[in-house]
Structure formats: C-alpha cells, structure tokens
C-alpha cells in the first residue's frame, strides 16, 4: 500500500524517553502507554488496511491534563493525533510514527442531563448510544444514529459530522450539537455555544463539526435531546429495478413527505443481509427500500397510505408494513448489519461513502456495474437514499496480490464518478487519509488554500492530525503570503507567520 504520511521528525523520535517521562508527569499512572504490545490496539482505526504503531499513547482524564499535554506538544513541536473509539472509516485516527496518540476514551461521563432545556452535557468519550441510554427512561433520545453507535464516541461523531439512517428528518451531528469545550494546540481552553442557540460571533462550532481532529481537541459536548415519537412504522418495498426505487423516493419527497428515513439496498446487499440476519427480505428484487415514518399514530397511518400508493404507482413488486415494534426492528436489523453481512461474503471489503444528487442513482449504479467487471471485483450497495449518500462495499481479498490496490483504484473511480455527477467525495465518513489524495478532484488550489489557512489560524505549526484531509502540507507562512503592492498591515497586533 502506497500511503504517504508526513515524514517523521527525527528530532522527536530521538527524544522518545524524555517525552514519555514528561507526559507521565502530566498524566500519571497507566495513562501513558508506550510498550509496543500495549499500543497494538491503537495501530489502526476502522480502516484496518492502514497500520502504524503510535509513538506513544496518552489517555488523559481531565481538560486540564489535555491542556497541559497540548501546550507541552506545542512547545516541543510534537504532533498529536486525537482518537475516540477508533471506528473511523477514513483513517482519521490513524497514528503517526512521531505523534502522541491522544485517546479520549476516559472522558466517558455524562455530566448533566437537562430535560427542561432538552439537552445533555457529556464528555467526548461517551458513546453515541450511551447518550440515548442515559435519557431513554424519560422518553428522550439523541437523534443521529450511525450504525456504529454502540462503539463510536460523540467526540468522533463531531470529528466526522456523522450521520445515520434518520438523518433525512433529524439531521447530522452538526444539526444536533449545541456547544462544546475544546482545547487548542496551544493549550488554551475555549467554549463555543452552550445550552442556548446560535453563536454570538463567528460560528466556529459549525466549523469544528467535521474538522477531523485538525483544529482542536474536544473535551466536552452539549447535545440536543429529542422526545421519542409516539410510534414509528417501517415499510419494506421491493422493486424490479433500481430506477423504479429511485423514482419512488423522488415521488415521496415531491409529495411533501419527509420520512424519518429512506434506505435502499441493491440485490447483493439484500442477499448478504438476509443470509446474515434472516428477517424475510425479498430475494427476487433488484432494489429494496426501507421507509420509516414516525410521529403520532394518526400521522403514521395517513402517511403509510400515501407512501404505499406512491410505491404501487412506481411498480413496486412487494410491500410489507411493520405491524409490531419487533418487526420494525427486524426490518432495520438487516440494514444496520449490512457491513458485517457483506463482510462475510469476502475476506475483506472497502466501504465507500460518496454523496450524489439522488436523480443520478441509476446512472451511477450502471457505471459502477461496468467498473465492477473491469476490475473483476464485486460491489454491493447500501444507500441512504433520502439524502443521496451511497455506500458501495467493494469486496476483495488482501491476500491475493494486487487486489487491495485494485479495490482502492475501483473506489477512487467511484468517488470521481460521484463528483462528476454533481456529488461529493464523502457524505459522513470523512476524508481522513483514505480520500485525501482525491481532494483535488473536487477542489482547486485556491479552494484548498482557503481551508488550509483556517487550519493555520487554529494550529500554526500544523501539529494536530497532520497528513489527514489535505493532500499537501503547505507551510502557513507560504499560504498566508499575499501578492499585492500597496496597502498597509491591518492588524498590527497579530503574529505574522
């Protein structure tokens, strides 16, 4: 695998023993891990094809410790990679040979549950599902629900702006986070937002969500809580072609209906999921939709009628409405287990994450089938159809020479295609290292420079999670240069890069 990471700083490598000692004075006891055997669990994240032994792992427990660690690293020019649960599917939490891996797992407390203001304050290492678990006895929940929600942390969700199958109606992480506390690489602690809405100044909270650990380390999060809807019902609809299924999704939305979720699976994904969880998915269809409606019983009943009629008009061949909560969860079990289910078909798979304008789905599926033949690799598709977010799963065998390279090339072609039809490289998994080198497919130099200068505003030495997101590492001084003749310097108190 030809992944390029920033060259390790020899000077830092040479001081390893001293650095470990210094870090141990900040985080005493077992909070500093440096033996290779113990660091092994941290050597990759959800993208297991990429592995790198960390320089040292530090597991702080307080904001004050995070602040001191970062200030120390800043003063000594040491790189830092923040990590939540390490389930990233883009290599966002992949260690570097010369970087402190800052594991946020010990930040696992729910600090404050405020039902009257419908929010909770939690530490970033609390799992996504852990938030809902803490409030569900009162009928509340945290809306974004990535399939990895048992394991992934809210800090990681902020890093990647994670979504789930209910994003269509309830939004992404960014729409459900009200505030956070974070530490800059200098050790400065900053608060953005809180229990109130909107920002009093620039909306830096919006910038932090999806920033992949490059701008600061999140140490506390305030999330929005919602009351659970009275009922939720799901419909399972099979179609003879993916065009028909896509048409059905468009017509539902054109009818003014925003279901809680609309998911699509193609024939291969359906077969894999059914073999894995046996919930009675139809096997003789090309595309399967799961449409979930929630709200008061009367609303669900009304919309189920509408959706069924639209589906029939779009040539649906099978249609089942969940009658019990158990059946509804069964419909979802297959979809939520789609990744591991596909994983059983093949020794390895790559999970892609492009988003496309929904109407382009038939074209994209057709082109993907052609590529599949060309590369000689199978692909199964699960699709957040409501919001156009496609997850092609490319099956390969890492033990067969050349297959990983072929799978990666196939994946890149799919993402290029997504951009070509008006979409983007990643909908919810992040750029990380995996899609980093494809950034120029979507952005030109000027676009990227505007993003990288923001990075400089937060982290002028480029110490936080370097090598992720951006295909080239520019020095901040070089990025900040302006080619003009006249004019004076506007902010004399600012440090010049």
């Amino acid at each position: 695998m030809g992944l390029r990471l920033p060259a390790a700083d020899e000077n830092v490598l040479a001081r390893r023993a001293d650095i470990i000692a210094d870090l141990s004075s900040i985080v005493p006891g077992e909070g500093v891990i440096f033996r290779e055997r113990e660091m092994k669990p941290y050597e990759s994240d959800g993208v297991t094809a990429y592995k790198q032994m960390p320089f040292v792992v530090v597991l702080p427990e307080t904001t004050a410790q995070v602040s001191r660690i970062l200030a120390y690293c800043h003063a000594n020019g040491i790189r830092v990679v923040p990590r939540g649960a390490g389930t990233s599917l883009s290599g966002g939490a992949l260690p570097l040979a010369d970087a402190v891996l800052l594991g946020m797992g010990k930040f696992n407390k729910v600090l404050d549950i405020d039902y009257a203001n419908r929010c909770a304050v939690v530490q970033p290492g609390v799992t996504n599902l852990g938030i809902t678990r803490a409030v569900e006895h009162e009928g509340f929940y945290y809306a974004p629900d990535p399939s990895s929600q048992i394991a992934c942390t809210i800090g990681g969700n902020i890093g990647e702006n994670s979504g789930g199958v209910h994003t269509l109606k309830y939004g992404l992480t960014t729409n459900n986070v009200l505030g956070l506390e974070m530490v800059l690489i200098t050790g400065e602690v900053i608060r953005l937002g809180g229990k109130h809405l909107d920002s009093g100044g620039l909306d830096l909270l919006a910038l932090m969500v999806g920033s992949e650990g490059l701008l600061g380390v999140v140490t506390e999060v305030t999330v929005r809580l919602l009351k659970k809807p009275d009922v939720a019902r799901a419909v399972l609809v099979g179609f003879p072609t993916s065009e028909d299924a896509g048409d059905c999704v468009a017509k539902i939305i054109a009818a003014g209906i925003i279901p809680a979720g609309i998911e699509m699976m193609d024939r291969d994904a359906i077969a894999a999921a059914e073999a894995f969880v046996k919930v009675g998915y139809p096997l003789d269809v090309e595309a399967l939709l799961i449409v979930e409606l929630d709200g008061p019983e009367a609303e669900c009943a009304h919309l189920l009628g509408e959706v069924s009629a639209i589906a029939a008009a779009c040539n649906s061949s099978t249609l089942r409405v969940s009658r019990t909560e158990e059946e509804r969860l069964g419909f979802w079990a297959g979809r939520k287990a789609a990744f591991p289910a596909v994983g059983r078909l093949s020794p390895d798979y790559l999970c892609m994450d492009g988003t496309i304008p929904r109407k382009q789905l038939p074209l994209v599926l057709t082109r993907m089938r052609e590529m599949s033949q060309q590369y000689g690799l199978r692909v199964a598709n699960v699709f957040h159809a409501g919001d156009g977010n496609l997850h092609p799963l490319i099956l390969y065998d890492a033990n067969k020479p050349g297959e990983l390279d072929a799978a990666e090339a196939f994946g890149s072609d799919i993402l290029r295609l997504c951009v070509e039809v008006g979409g983007v490289l990643t909908g919810e998994h992040g750029v990380g290292v995996e899609k980093r080198d494809l950034m120029p497919v979507m952005f030109n130099e000027v676009d990227l420079a505007h993003q990288q200068r923001l990075k400089c505003a937060f982290d002028d030495q480029g110490l936080l999670n370097p090598g992720k997101v951006f295909p080239t590492l520019h020095r901040c001084a070089e990025l900040g240069r302006m080619h003009v003749s006249g004019g004076q310097v506007p902010f004399p108190d600012l440090p010049r890069f």
Binding site: G200, L207, V209, G386, T426, M482
Partner: protein, 402 residues
C-alpha cells in the same frame, strides 16, 4: 459618504475586492441595504453593491435543493418555493419593519450573512443548518467554493455553515446553495392565557418536551399582547404552533391540550390568524415603528428566558417578549441608550449572548455582539485574517478589527 460601486458577476466581484486590496480601501458590502443597520457602525471608503449579482441558478424541488446568486431578492426565492409548496424552513426574519423599511425587501446574501432565523429555529434549525454550499470571494480577491449541492457532505471543512452569520466580514458570497423543505399543508396555534414568567417557562418546556413536534413557542406579557391585533385579549399568553398534515395536526392538538391541562384552558388560532401571529413574532413587529430606540436580541437557556425578560422590564424599563420556547428574548429599551452593560449583566447568570439588533450609529460604535473571552477573541481575529488579511471586507462590523 463612501462612493458607490456595483458589480453584476462573480469576476467583477473578485476584481472589485482585488482593487480594494491594492488601494487599501475598506469596503461596505451590501445587497439592497435592508440590513445595513445591523452590526457595529464601521467606517468604509466604498460601498460594494452586489444586488446586481442576481438569479436562481438551480432549483430541484424533489431533491430539496436551491442555488441562487447572492443578490437575488429573498422575496423572489420565497415566492418560487411557495409555488412548489416548499419553504426555507428556518423562517428568515424580515428585518424591514423593525428598521422602518418596507416588508419583503432584502437579498438572500444579506439573509445568509445575518443568520437571523425565525420561530422555527427551535425545531428546524437556523440558516446555517440548511447551508449546503457557497461560492465566494475572500478578502484576498480570490474566488473559492466549499460544500456542494447534496444533503450530506464532509469533504473538507464546513465553510458554508461557518460563513452563515459572518456578516460579510470574511468573504462576499457570490452563490449560495440551500436545503429547502416541504411547506406544511396546515398549521394552527394553541394559546394559554394569564401565566406568570415562571409558569410560562414551564408550559413551553412541557410542550417542547412532549412528542407533539411543536414548531413555534412564544410567550408575550400582557402589555405586548394588549397592543397587538394578532393576539386575542390582553392577558399574558403562551403560544404554541403545530404544523403538518391535517390528520397529524389534529392528533397533536389533542395531545398538546392534555400536556397543557395543568396550565389552564386552551384557545386555538386557526390559519391565517396563526400565520399572522408568527410573522409578528418573527419580525419583532411589537417593536416596529419605535424609531431607533435600542432593540436587543438575547439567546439563552430556554427555561431562563421568561424570567430574564421580566428582569429587563423591571430593572431597565424594557418592553420584552420571548420566542424559541424562552430561548430568545426580544427587548426594546425605553430610549436610544442601549445600556449594554446592564443588559449583559442581566444575561450573565444564565449564559448565552446578547446582540444589539437596532440602535443609533453612535450606540453601535461600541459592542454590538457579545464580547468574547480573550482566547476566543484572538482566534476570531486569526480566522478573520486568514480570509481577509488586509481587512477590506466590512472591517469592524462584527468586532473592532473583525
């Protein structure tokens, strides 16, 4: 008077900013100027009028997406959406009446720059929650893009959301892409009368904490209620809006009436009375026509809002009402003096931020936005400098130096 300079395409926008950089000119960036009274009063050498950069470039109703050039009149966009039974779900405030201007003015660029969402902010989010993509010219005179036209996207930093509400201090938008949503087929509003601030807060909290999907929650004290034609009666009211499909709204009305039972009898406002009511709340109409007497907009913890509003009335003589289930307090001061220190001191125990929305230029020479703690202030200045190192775009509009 700063000289006036108009552009009508993106290339001339970039050229205009480049020229300002080269000549060291400070630009006052504006659309039709309906929101010119917002923000700190800052000195400019030249007005850059982008209202000529107009037109809807993409609208695909069943993909829920719309793109328009920044100078496109907001009214044109809202009319087009309404024709297709869709809407901007964040219910942007029409600032015209508050500033003594006609209603229905303004451009989408101005709306985006100010991020003033209406009552539905509570359930559907702000402008930034619907921002999908932008094309813009930064203070370097360079055209750049970020985001896209699709609903889900984490490719690079989320600049579209961050630029919403940046008041033209970082970049001049040339094109904005937004998520749009279906217009609810019907709406109605439930009213409860005569509650004191504490009970109002509890009633709104109970409603929001139910499964009724309330999409507007306001509380008005008796003096405001008595003065407004949209409000029946002259007692304090709590108003809760339900929107959606007919059968759903009916079912939720029944649910909400039982949630509100402990707070008294409920009266129902049918549309169009309901629509008028929420427009009044959205546009701060109770404070329209009061010249340049200072108006504040305070965002705080929802449960704290009604009591905070009462405090502003009792101690400073302000007229007040609450939106966002108490989380937004509108306050009209008894004169042109903004009394910023006293307002912010009243807010401080509850957390949040206070923005001086309307005031004389002299009052707006000081802090208009919530003063920032020093690390955040320094970071904000570095962010400003990263986009606009020479300080040519609306310098000083947000904070001194930003």
């Amino acid at each position: 008077m700063p000289e006036h300079f108009s552009i009508s395409d993106e290339a001339s926008l970039a050229a205009a900013v480049t020229e300002a950089v080269e000549q060291g000119l400070r630009l006052d960036v504006r659309g039709t100027g309906t929101r010119a009274g917002l923000g700190r009063a800052a000195q400019a050498d030249r007005t850059l009028d982008v209202s000529g950069l107009s037109g809807i470039s993409l609208y695909e109703p069943d993909e829920l997406v719309l793109s328009a050039r920044a100078g496109t009149p907001l009214a044109q966009i809202e009319a087009l959406l309404a024709d297709a039974s869709q809407m901007l779900a964040f219910e942007p405030m029409d600032t015209g009446p508050l500033f003594g201007l006609p209603a229905g003015g303004g451009t989408i660029g101005g709306m985006f720059a100010c991020n003033l969402a209406g009552p539905r902010r509570l359930s559907h989010g702000a402008v930034r929650d619907h921002a999908l993509g932008i094309r813009a010219v930064s203070g370097r005179g360079e055209v750049f893009k970020s985001g896209g036209r699709v609903m889900k996207n984490v490719t690079g930093y989320d600049l579209p959301r961050m630029l919403a509400g940046s008041l033209g201090t970082l970049a001049v938008m040339s094109e904005i892409t937004l998520k749009v949503l279906p217009l609810p087929p019907t709406e109605e509003t439930l009213l409860v009368f005569g509650l004191d601030p504490a009970a109002s807060a509890r009633a709104m909290s109970a409603a929001m904490g139910s499964a009724c999907e309330v999409s507007g929650a306001a509380s008005l004290p008796p003096d405001i209620a008595a003065a407004r034609p949209e409000v029946p009666g002259d007692r304090a009211i709590v108003a809760l809006r339900l929107e959606g499909f007919e059968p759903s709204v009916k079912a939720r009305r029944a649910m909400l009436i039982s949630v509100l039972a402990p707070f008294g009898a409920v009266e129902v406002l049918e549309p169009p009375a309901s629509r008028d009511f929420w427009r009044m709340v959205r546009d701060a109409l109770p404070f329209a026509g009061s010249g340049l007497d200072a108006v504040w907009r305070l965002s705080t913890r929802p449960t704290a809002g009604p009591a905070l509003a009462r405090t502003l009335t009792d101690t400073l003589g302000a007229k007040t009402y609450c939106d966002w289930a108490g989380g937004l307090v509108w306050a009209l001061m008894p004169g042109e003096a903004a009394q910023g220190e006293a307002v912010r001191a009243a807010l401080a125990p509850h957390g949040g931020h206070a923005t001086l929305i309307r005031a004389t230029a002299a009052q707006r020479a000081g802090d208009v936005f919530q003063p920032l703690e020093s690390s955040l202030a320094a970071l904000t200045r570095r962010v400003k400098a990263s986009f606009d190192p020479r300080g040519v775009l609306n310098p000083g509009r947000m904070y001194a130096e930003v």
